[in-house]
Subunit: 220 residues, 2 copies
């Protein structure tokens, strides 16, 4: 059995806790093939329901495709700003929420619900389990990138129909994430939305319940 | 900036690639408070859309609650076996798919779509982004547990209505995962469903596309 030592555990947490959602710090330094390959392998070794491995990965380096997505982002984001109340609206408009054009590569992770046939172990009572597997692949990729000192930012402000049109994604494939990826000048110490005062970090102890939902904040 | 060295990167991948979905190898050794606390902190430091931190965590140690869930699993699983064709059905019935009673603790991760109000940065065009955040918390927890030499198994064969009833989860809270957690006698070298020949590990290169969906299996 592969044992993880105390020192190794600390290294793991160092990677996990220094992962950030990156929007502004991308460098133009290219990502070597072997580095990208290790990161994609990490995504592919995510858990998947019934071992169906429902993901596909689209690597985007074509700047014209990124331009098209940026336009889709701008269209959606303009509609969004008006949803926030006065003070929040001003702050919202000042936030940089994506690095689509600046990141050397974009990565799309999808979910193919038909990957291994109609019946999948573990998806029979919860039809969303395949989508959850693809999200696990995103998180594996994100952490692996951090271990390679590469930043990742998840962009979700565009219509999925626009994304599917731009990248010719078939009708029955579900886009899960568009990720901006590249080396960075720096990783922020804290999440940017925490730093600018958008929302505070919650106390994890207030989110823990014991045995049933109503038993909260009690020692076991 | 926290730099991750080559040696540290290798440690990270060692943890990531030795993570397994555990069903059979749970030991009765209790999980110390500080260990559990580090694992839950890792979950809480997952990325979340608009920093909304939509998750709650229910820790289950009550054996009678586990028994109720086991019954819900058995009820659902009996219905499932008949969905598989002849050979697969026999294999399916031979598989152990959960360790609900054996795992010292169960962990439920949920998603509260109303956590920070109706408008959330990044959830405006894709309403599922909050659910995806809670899945990222699951994957962080899973990997952190592995770094602590603790096994995790995601059980998804029961009706969510049963889960909500057993643990008194409010109507508007979405259960994302029920995780069995505990120290283990061993971690399998490969995923169990791969080992028993249920499905093969796919070649990741067959899942990679370049710039558009149709450009596949080509060097950049």
């Amino acid at each position: 059995m592969t044992n993880i030592t105390e020192d190794e555990r600390k290294v793991f947490y160092k990677v996990l806790h220094s992962r950030r959602d990156v929007r502004s710090e991308f460098l133009q330094k290219p990502i070597p093939e072997d580095v990208l390959s290790r990161i994609l392998k990490a995504a592919h070794h995510a858990p998947s329901v019934g071992f169906m491995q429902p993901w596909d990965i689209i690597i985007i380096e074509d700047q014209s495709k990124k331009e098209e997505l940026k336009q889709a982002f701008i269209k959606s984001n303009n509609k969004v700003a008006d949803l926030f109340e006065k003070d929040k609206k001003k702050l919202y408009k000042s936030l940089k929420l994506e690095g689509i054009l600046e990141a050397p590569i974009g990565v799309i992770i999808t979910c193919d619900k038909n990957r291994t046939g109609p019946v999948v172990i573990g998806r029979t009572t919860n039809p969303e389990m395949d989508v959850y597997s693809s999200v696990c692949a995103v998180q594996n990729l994100w952490l692996a990138a951090r271990a390679e000192n590469i930043g990742v930012g998840w962009v979700s402000i565009f219509e999925n129909d626009d994304l599917k049109r731009i990248f010719n994604i078939p009708e029955d494939i579900i886009p899960i994430a568009y990720l901006c990826m590249g080396y960075v000048s720096d990783f922020h110490e804290k999440p940017e939305l925490e730093k600018v005062g958008w929302l505070p970090r919650m106390d994890v102890n207030e989110l823990i319940h014991y045995n049933t939902w109503e038993d909260k904040n009690e020692s076991k």
